[in-house]
């Protein structure tokens, strides 16, 4: 299910992003931001394959975080926004996008590692069945 949703999203988002880059209207900027924020997460769900179910909550939380941050940046763009900790709010938001998801993404990967494919028994089975060079290539 997650794979199907990811593929549909990627298939629709790709031409939509291309269109946004050709048109360059204010709406295009918002569309590009919303789609670009979700694009990597859709690829993660696609890559996780059978382990995507375990990632559901984490990926949704990341999606909400990225979308909120990018929409916040677009809202604050060009405005005289308040300053916090010596920087404009928008700049702090950008630093937040840089730092906040880092431990979440890395620990989510480690936590779900066994479920999304590299179980020891799978690896041993693959080596036993195919070994190097037997597939042609």
């Amino acid at each position: 299910m997650a794979t199907k949703i990811s593929l549909w999203f990627l298939a629709i988002a790709s031409p939509a992003i291309l269109l946004a880059l050709l048109l360059g209207t204010r709406t295009s900027e918002w569309a590009f931001a919303v789609l670009a924020a979700a694009f990597p997460l859709a690829l993660i769900a696609l890559g996780a394959g059978r382990g995507a179910g375990a990632l559901k909550v984490g990926l949704v939380a990341l999606l909400v975080f990225y979308e909120a941050c990018f929409l916040g940046l677009l809202t604050l763009h060009g405005r005289d926004a308040p300053w916090l900790f010596g920087l404009p709010l928008a700049t702090l938001l950008q630093l937040g996008i840089f730092l906040a998801p880092l431990p979440a993404v890395a620990l989510l990967y480690a936590w779900t590692f066994e479920r999304h494919g590299l179980r020891r028994r799978d690896l041993e089975e693959l080596r036993a069945r195919f070994g190097r060079g037997e597939g042609g290539g």
């Binding site: 593929l7 990627l10 298939a11 790709s14 031409p15 992003i17 291309l18 946004a20 880059l21 050709l22 360059g24 209207t25 295009s28 900027e29 590009f32 931001a33 670009a36 694009f39 990597p40 690829l43 993660i44 696609l46 890559g47 996780a48 990341l62 940046l73 677009l74 763009h77 060009g78 300053w83 900790f85 010596g86 920087l87 404009p88 928008a90 700049t91 938001l93 950008q94 840089f98 730092l99 880092l102 993404v105 890395a106 989510l108 990967y109 480690a110 590692f113 999304h116 494919g117 590299l118 690896l123 693959l126 080596r127 069945r129 195919f130 190097r132 060079g133 037997e134 597939g135 290539g137």
Partner: protein
């Protein structure tokens, strides 16, 4: 001021170069065959793989080009680095595991090898090799330009002479040691840069009077103004384009994908995202620190306006960092450039003597010897291209990164995870991504035909972002248009894709 006025800068830089050359000599003795030369004998552990991947990703582009781009565009340029919060995880979930497992079942050295294994299409693999060579010429060119700038900053050689010396050093190093030299230089360089970045970040903030003072100075400056601190800058499509290209495009970077073949045990990937993203985030502090401090120093009149934005990092290090730290950073930057250059020349050499002949059905004998000659050709071509390109290091780097991204990311990211993707779709996607990125970039920059209109992209839109989106679009359209056969994928590759 050049580094010649500061003996500590010279001493640390020369000491580092001696270490690098020693590693090159040692590595040459450990390089016995093509497997050693191209994938370091597939015998390196997590820490070495992490530092090697980090070093391959962060190079002269980040250390010199990054602050230069910030000086020109403001903090919107940080969107190049913002994706490091997820790119390591994205790499592992989407491609790393499958690439490493492909190397369990096949004799795979290169990115086009993986394309051939997955799609059984010599055309797709050959096009991937062409994309690798095209991107390498740009990326290696950016490294050589950065190397020329560092040598000019330290020794006052001038950019052209600095680049010429750089070509000779890179050639001596890369032809001798191959990937073994690159990987072990990365370990020294990666560790050095993490420590140095923290030091530079501290001195950068201190020189500007702290983050708050830097922010106020920039906002009140007539030259920079509040727009400098707006993350979406003057052109939101540029900032968002950086995020898209550097976030998603990481899946097509051969200098990073290649490292996964070298890992001795695929199960060590478990902690790879944490190790890689943490080390990358620490090193990015150098860019953020210098990128904010230098414009603030210029705005407050403590530093003369820069002749070229790319001078930002050298100007800060020579004028505002302690000489020992400056020497370590210059040495580390030299190391970063050397290791990245080494990775690229070997990847391009493999594309020339291994992948392209294989795509034409005429494999080359004595790949190792021919590979060393290919290194010479690629390095010289890259230096010439960079010199003629004549723009900021970061813009040349973005173009090269975008070439890999647009040509290779869709075929890998989707193709390794969805069996329905056909060889025709992969071939079309690689061809369109490569042609569009090169075409739009050259079209946008050409001055021979003044009457020719600009490419039909919105203001600020990056050609690489458009090429990447188009490449994904073509992959899906052609996949749905063409039919798959049961025997399109070999059993061992299918097993890898099922895992």
């Amino acid at each position: 001021m050049t580094g010649l006025a500061q003996p500590a800068v010279i001493a640390s830089s020369l000491a580092y170069l001696a270490v690098v050359l020693a590693i090159g000599v040692w590595a040459a003795r450990r390089t016995h065959d093509a497997r050693d030369f191209f994938i370091a004998g597939q015998g390196i552990g997590l820490v070495v793989t992490t530092l090697a991947t980090m070093s391959a990703a962060f190079s002269g582009f980040l250390f010199l080009g990054g602050p230069g781009l910030t000086y020109r565009l403001g903090v919107s340029s940080f969107f190049i680095s913002v994706p490091v919060s997820f790119t390591a995880g994205l790499l592992c979930w989407t491609v790393a595991k499958r690439l490493r497992l492909l190397a369990e079942v096949r004799e795979i050295y290169t990115v086009p090898d993986a394309v051939l294994a997955r799609f059984r299409s010599r055309r797709a693999s050959g096009l991937a090799a062409v994309a690798v060579i095209a991107g390498t010429v740009g990326y290696l060119g950016a490294q050589l330009q950065a190397l020329g700038l560092v040598l000019d900053s330290i020794f006052g050689t001038g950019l052209a002479a600095g680049m010429a010396v750089g070509v000779v050093v890179v050639l001596a190093y890369a032809t001798a040691g191959g990937m073994v030299a690159g990987v072990y230089t990365d370990v020294v360089q990666g560790a050095l840069m993490i420590a140095a970045a923290l030091g530079v970040f501290y001195y950068a903030l201190e020189s500007g009077g702290g983050l708050g003072a830097i922010g106020r100075t920039l906002a009140e400056s007539g030259d920079f103004g509040p727009g400098f601190l707006d993350p979406l800058g003057a052109a939101p499509l540029t900032a968002l384009g950086f995020y898209f290209v550097f976030g998603v495009g990481v899946l097509g970077q051969p200098q990073m994908l290649h490292k996964f073949y070298m890992l001795d045990d695929p199960r060590k990937l478990k902690w790879f995202p944490l190790a890689l993203s943490s080390s990358q985030a620490l090193v990015v502090l150098l860019w953020i620190g210098i990128g904010l401090a230098v414009p603030a120093l210029v705005a407050s009149g403590r530093l003369a306006p820069l002749a070229s934005p790319d001078d930002a990092a050298p100007a800060f290090l020579l004028g505002f960092a302690p000489p020992l730290l400056a020497g370590i950073v210059f040495a580390g930057v030299l190391a970063a450039i050397m290791s990245t250059a080494d990775s690229f020349v070997n990847i391009a050499a493999a594309a020339l003597v291994h992948d392209l002949p294989k795509a034409f059905g005429r494999p080359v004998r004595r790949e190792l010897a021919r590979g060393r000659w290919a290194v010479v050709g690629v390095t010289v071509a890259s230096a010439l291209f960079a010199y003629l390109y004549g723009d900021l290091i970061a813009l040349l780097g973005t173009f090269a990164y975008g070439t890999f991204a647009a040509a290779l990311a869709p075929a890998f990211a989707v193709g390794l995870n969805w069996r329905r993707v056909t060889p025709a779709a992969a071939t079309a996607s690689i061809a369109v991504g490569l042609a569009l990125n090169l075409g739009l970039e050259l079209w946008g920059r050409q001055a021979w035909f003044p009457a020719l209109p600009k490419p039909p992209l919105a203001a600020g839109a990056l050609p690489s972002a458009a090429a990447l989106a188009a490449s994904f679009t073509v992959l899906f359209v052609v996949t749905w248009w063409t039919s798959t056969r049961d025997d399109d994928i070999d059993a061992d590759v299918a097993a890898v894709m099922e895992m």
